[in-house]
Each structure stands twice: as C-alpha cells, then as structure tokens.
C-alpha cells in the first residue's frame, strides 16, 4: 500500500464510477445513462471523468448503436479493479492505525 492515494481514484465521481463498475459481474459493462443515474453526476461532468479514467487505463469505453440510437458502454479493466482495491486498502489502513 502506498503512503499517498492514487490521485486518479481519489476524486468522488471517479471513485463512484469505479465502485459502480466493480459491482458488476466480471467483464460486464454499464450504459453511460445508467451510470450517470448511479453516480448522480451531470452528463458533461461524468464524461470528463470517464475520459480521465480511460486515459489511465482504468476503464474501457465502447461506443456503438443499439436500436438505432448511439450507446456508450463503460467497463472496468483489470488495472482499474486493482487501483480501486488498492485505494480501499489505503482507506482501511487509515482506519486501522
């Protein structure tokens, strides 16, 4: 465990995005609209944070068309899962000291 938290994860909206995705069965993705409802963020705000997470390799973004409508699906990567687990360990470490 590092002494300082991962600054990519250490942000409320990004943290909720990773937590929401970690709750899914392995390999499953979440629709952008549904994710927005879960983390309670605006479209622009959530989009920016997902771009940050994607840049760090913590999530994968897949865009396609579903029933003739554009759809964006987000999936947690192995790296993202590990980053969230490390962050949770960091928090537990604070509580255990």
């Amino acid at each position: 465990m590092s002494a300082q938290p991962d600054q990519i994860v250490h942000q409320p909206v990004r943290l909720k995005v990773l937590a929401a995705l970690r709750a899914l069965p392995d390999g499953e993705s979440l629709d952008f609209v549904r994710l927005r409802g879960i983390v309670d963020a605006t479209e622009g705000n959530l989009g920016a944070h997902i771009t940050t997470l994607e840049g760090a390799g913590y999530v994968e973004v897949n865009k396609d068309f579903h029933q003739r409508r554009p759809r964006t699906r987000i999936r947690l990567t192995v790296r993202g899962r590990r980053a969230l687990e490390d962050y949770v360990a960091y928090l537990r470490g604070i509580l255990d000291t």
Binding site: A3, P12, L15, A20, P25, E28, L84, V88
Partner: protein, 181 residues
C-alpha cells in the same frame, strides 16, 4: 498529509453504497425482460383458459416457450465471455419440478392447478428477494402470493381472468418499471 479518519470512513461508506446501488439496478435490468415475457405468457395462458378451459393443456407448451425465450434473452444480455448453462438448467429444473409435482399429486381441479404454479413463483420470488437483499422482489413475491390466495377463495369462477389481469398484467408492469430504473 494523510486523510482524516472520518473522511476515510465516509469514503468507504460511499463506495459500499454505490456498489450496492449498482448491483441492485443491474439485477433489475436483467430481470426486466424476463418479467415482461412471463407476464405475456400468463396473460395468454390464463386468459385462454378463462375463455376455453381446454386451454389448460397448452400450459406445458407455453412454459417451454417461456423457458426458450428466457434463454434467448439471457444470451443476448450476457457478454459473450459470460454465457453459461445455468439459466437454461434453472428453467428445466423448475419445469421438471412442476411436472413431477402434478404427477405425484394426481388429478387436480383446473382451479387448483392454476393456483399452484403462481404460488410456487411467488415463493421463489420471495426467497430470491430475501437472499439478494432485494426488497422489491420480496414484496413482489408476497403481493403475488396474496393475490393468488385472494383470487382463489374470493373469485373462483373468475380466477383465470383474475390471474391474467393481476398476475400477467402485474408482471408486465413490473418489468416495464424495472427497465426504466
């Protein structure tokens, strides 16, 4: 500077709450098309039996169609890497249980047969709700069970129509509601 303990505690709580919310909504999204499908099957089966009692014979076929439909829905919703045999096996197990149940009980009245299956479904919903911490599923099971018993005793002549409306209609409305969450 290290994070204060209180902030760490609140952040962990936020993570847990977000995971629970996500898991619950994921479950609703998965269940929604199945509820709609089985609602349609109930409307056809019970509505048909109300109009023509010999339609009772069509239930095994309707049930197998429902199982096949549920398997197709599950395969479409699952990512390719996660497709497995458990959904199909669950459907066949339930079908085999119901068939064996009626085989050992011997001939029952149309009314008793029509009430037994939805009572089993209500029982399964309630159990699934208890074990997955889903209040909605638990309430759905309890309400469905109560509606079956009420219809059985209070409206025996119109029981099939009652089940088509409140059972089938309820499943369809419940599925549409879950889809929008």
């Amino acid at each position: 500077m290290a994070m204060p303990r209180e902030e760490a505690r609140e952040t962990l709580r936020d993570i847990l709450q977000t995971e629970q919310k996500s898991r619950k909504l994921h479950g609703y999204r998965k269940a929604s098309p199945h509820l709609i499908l089985w609602g349609i099957i109930w409307v056809i089966g019970y509505g048909g039996t109300f109009l023509r009692p010999q339609w009772l014979q069509a239930w095994p076929v309707l049930s197998l169609l429902g199982i096949a439909g549920s398997v197709v829905i599950a395969r479409r919703m699952a990512d390719a890497s996660r497709r497995d045999w458990r959904g199909f096996a669950t459907g066949i197990t339930i079908f085999a249980f119901i068939a064996a149940f009626f085989a050992v009980t011997g001939p029952l009245s149309t009314l008793a047969i029509s009430a037994t299956i939805p009572l089993c479904v209500a029982f399964l919903y309630a159990l699934f709700g208890i074990w997955t911490n889903s209040t909605r599923l638990l309430v759905t099971g309890a309400v469905l069970g109560a509606l079956v018993v009420i219809g059985f005793f209070a409206l025996p002549r119109y029981f099939q129509l009652w089940m088509a409306a409140v059972g089938g209609g309820g499943l369809i409305l419940g599925g549409i509601w879950m889809r929008g969450l």
